[in-house]
Amino acid sequence: MTSAAGASAPPTPTAPEYQLLYFAELLARRVCETRADFKIGKLTDLVFRLAEPFPEAVGIFISHGWGNPSEFIAWDRVVRIESGAIFVLPPESGERYPPFVDQPGWILLNEHLIGRTILDMDGRRIEVVNDVQLLQSRGRMIIAHVDVSFNGFLRKWGFGWLSRRRDRLISWRYVQPLSLEDVTATDKVSLSLTRTEIHELPSEDLADALEELSGREQEAMFSALDTEKAAETLLDAEPRAQRQIVADLQPEHARAILSEMSPADQADLLSALPWDDRIEMLALLPKEQAERTRALLSTDEAKARALMSNAYVAMPENITAAEALSRLRAAGHDKEAVTYVYVVREPEHVLLGVVDLRELVLANETATLADLMATPPVSADAELLKEDLVDLFAKYHFRLLPVTDSADHLLGVLEYKEIMR
């Protein structure tokens, strides 16, 4: 019988170079103390320390059967893993192993990972972790892949022999928790994708993914988005998901997200909300903006004046192309609508013409805007109704249309995507 003194002995040298194991197969395997006939319990979970690039096993949990508490065995006491049993060394001292002390960054496979949802970045779909593929080599064990296929599900229930199709393994490198706190927090959300990656997905895909998630996970994922992305994603989600997400939002977060939206977008979102939530959201907005949004909400016949935004660029006619471009660069980040430069006569702000960004870039540096501009410009009257605006956009196919009053004063711009949605 091997003595307790052999605790720090190297793992059995006769073990193969490396071994691929499925967690589902390890689950419930006999755990024996050094000899095959000395069974002390069954494996119930594996504990890993999250580390780059791969998490490493730090211990196992075993159960002793009915009524007895499960016990944690540190990884350095685990000698080898065979198909019939897992062999461990007896406790260093006394009858029992030292009690389990949870440490930050540790996860329990069964508890925290199996059955959790992850966002598959390739398929852009929500998948369920059915199994985990482990790589064992020289006494160490790491998480190599997660299996999201039906096979993993079958293995979990002991029907692995039924599987016909190939596994769908996702490398752990692409499966990372949103944050460490999320996995080990009390609510045990382990939505798996990184903060950097989440911003690379188009908001339409994020919205689809959000719709598939359930409450907590939805909240976790949504809170990982920055406000601009959050606003876009929220607008792209279907009404039911919109209602759920808004219901879970903190007022401050909601205010930040709303301020990323135009009044037309706000009205779009709010019209999907129950009345009480709608009132709460409107209360978060600055008074003037709330009024505009409220006006849009209460009518089927929104006017151009209410739908327009002021994120346009206007310049006087006598400046040169070079000057115009540098002004554009200076203002660019505040102004969404830089496709066209509107040429106006100050101080009345009368719209004279419009310069396409392409014209401006290609133009001779000394040419003035008056030389470059197309005139007379196509514009929408501020009193036009939404249906008329749809006709106008359909007719001209411009991405932006300037809005003017009856005396040709430039008031704002309308965006194609907001009118034609």
Partner: protein, 445 residues
């Protein structure tokens, strides 16, 4: 010339509002017309055959009754964006929530059986075997909802609603038989000067039962759940409420007009039959007897065809809306995706529940004996008695919840109308339920 351009502007504005109204029309009409389901047609046919035109006045009361109740569901759905089951859960807790949903699922399933029976009987008149009807109808009902768009479902269903109008020509032909001496004047008198003549087989007790049956078939629990869910699924907003009310009113008028014409048709040929009144017990029987009571030319054969088509269509609409209302309610309480705007992939349980309801009730309708079918019909009415009062009271309480409804909370006038309707319906349906369970109680005078 200014007035011309102004006129054109006004006209285009009018046209636009008209288009918006047309776009919003749907849930109200469908709910109301589907309410004339297979059981409803039978009730109206019996009413006509037993009382002639003398019950027509009831519809002057039934139109506002149906309108006021259903109009509340429009406001509740548009303001809260929640279905009725969800609203009850949120407002009154899980006990009442589960009670309502369980009751609804049960009563809907039983009613579905009667719809299938109606459809197979109607198809039998065209010599189509029952099992073919069952398979065909189930496939059709699945096809209507499976497109993944609420819009398609609504427009298809509105087409089926139009078929409900076949009873109008049937009534006109029935009047042409000349059985009724005073002609349409006699019909008119039915609205303001009813005159009942009781016989040994048809006493005051039977009359009261008939009145109750007519009310019971006009206001049903599933209608409340269905219209609210449809309003939510359609994405109607607060600003659409005014059109939703027009929609509901149009539906209430249409359903009652059709019901009145059914009564006129059956009354003219059965009650005012030259050789004495002929009794009928069901819609299928009514259709089958048409050739016999309308011997002139081919009217009778045509009337039979129209009645059969009408009955089939009524069963189809009823089955569609009833199983949908169950699916919506179950989806709301179990948190499944539940929208006709979702594909089968996206909302599997919603469609599975829908299909299972249809298949199970359809199979039961095929294998059940007449005895079982009769007891189902009775049981439906008894369960309705337990659910309808609760549903109405919940509805009114929700509509009076100021934090929930905001400015669309019930006005005093609406409350007055709705509480009177509710108390009246509770009283009537309770008496009716008891009388169905214990027929001897009221005696047969």
């Amino acid at each position: 010339m200014y007035w011309i351009s102004k006129l054109i502007h006004q006209l285009s504005r009018l046209k636009r509002r008209w288009m918006v109204l047309l776009a919003v029309l749907g849930p109200g009409i469908i709910t109301m017309v589907a309410d004339n389901d297979a059981g409803g047609i039978s009730t109206y046919a019996q009413t006509g055959a037993k009382t002639g035109f003398n019950m027509l006045w009831a519809f002057i009361i039934l139109v506002p009754m149906a309108y006021f109740v259903q109009e509340m569901t429009v406001r509740l759905g548009a303001v809260t964006k929640r279905g009725h089951a969800e609203a009850i859960f949120d407002g009154f807790g899980p006990v009442w929530g589960w009670f309502s949903v369980f009751d609804l699922a049960l009563i809907n399933w039983l009613t579905l059986v009667t719809e299938y029976i109606g459809m197979t009987q109607a198809a039998l008149l065209f010599h189509i075997p029952a099992w073919i009807t069952f398979l065909g109808v189930t496939a059709l009902l699945m096809a209507i909802v499976i497109t993944g768009r609420y819009w398609t479902f609504e427009k298809l269903t509105l087409v089926f609603c139009i078929f409900n109008l076949v009873y109008i020509p049937a009534a006109i032909w029935a009047m042409k038989t000349g059985n009724v001496g005073a002609g349409w004047n006699a019909v008119g008198r039915g609205f303001y000067a009813p005159h009942f003549s009781f016989t040994a087989t048809f006493g005051p007790a039977a009359l009261i039962t008939l009145v109750m049956a007519n009310i019971g078939t006009t206001i049903t629990p599933w209608q409340i759940f269905f219209q609210q869910s449809a309003v939510v699924d359609k994405g109607m907003d607060i600003k659409d409420i005014k059109f939703g009310k027009i929609d509901t009113m149009a539906g209430a008028l249409m359903t009652c007009i059709v019901a009145a014409f059914i009564i006129i048709a059956t009354a003219a040929v059965f009650y005012y039959n030259p050789s004495g009144p002929i009794s009928v017990e069901s819609a299928a029987e009514t259709a089958a007897k048409m050739p016999e009571v309308m011997p002139n030319q081919n009217w009778g054969v045509w009337a039979k065809g129209l009645f059969a088509i009408g009955l089939f269509d009524a069963g189809l609409l009823g089955a569609l809306c009833i199983s949908l209302s169950t699916s919506w309610a179950l989806g709301e309480v179990f948190g499944w995706a539940h929208s006709l705007n979702k594909s089968v992939r996206e909302a599997p349980w919603f469609y599975v529940a829908y299909l299972l309801m249809l298949l199970s009730s359809g199979v039961v309708s095929l294998v059940a004996s007449t005895r079982v079918q009769d007891s189902i019909t009775i049981f439906v009415q008894v369960v309705a008695v337990t659910l309808l009062p609760a549903a109405l009271v919940f509805l009114i309480l929700l509509l009076n919840d100021k934090p929930l409804m905001g400015e669309h909370v019930n006005t005093r006038a609406q409350n007055l109308a709705n509480w009177s309707i509710t108390i009246f319906v509770i009283a009537v349906s309770t008496v009716f339920g008891v009388s169905v369970l214990f027929p001897k109680l009221f005696g047969s005078a």
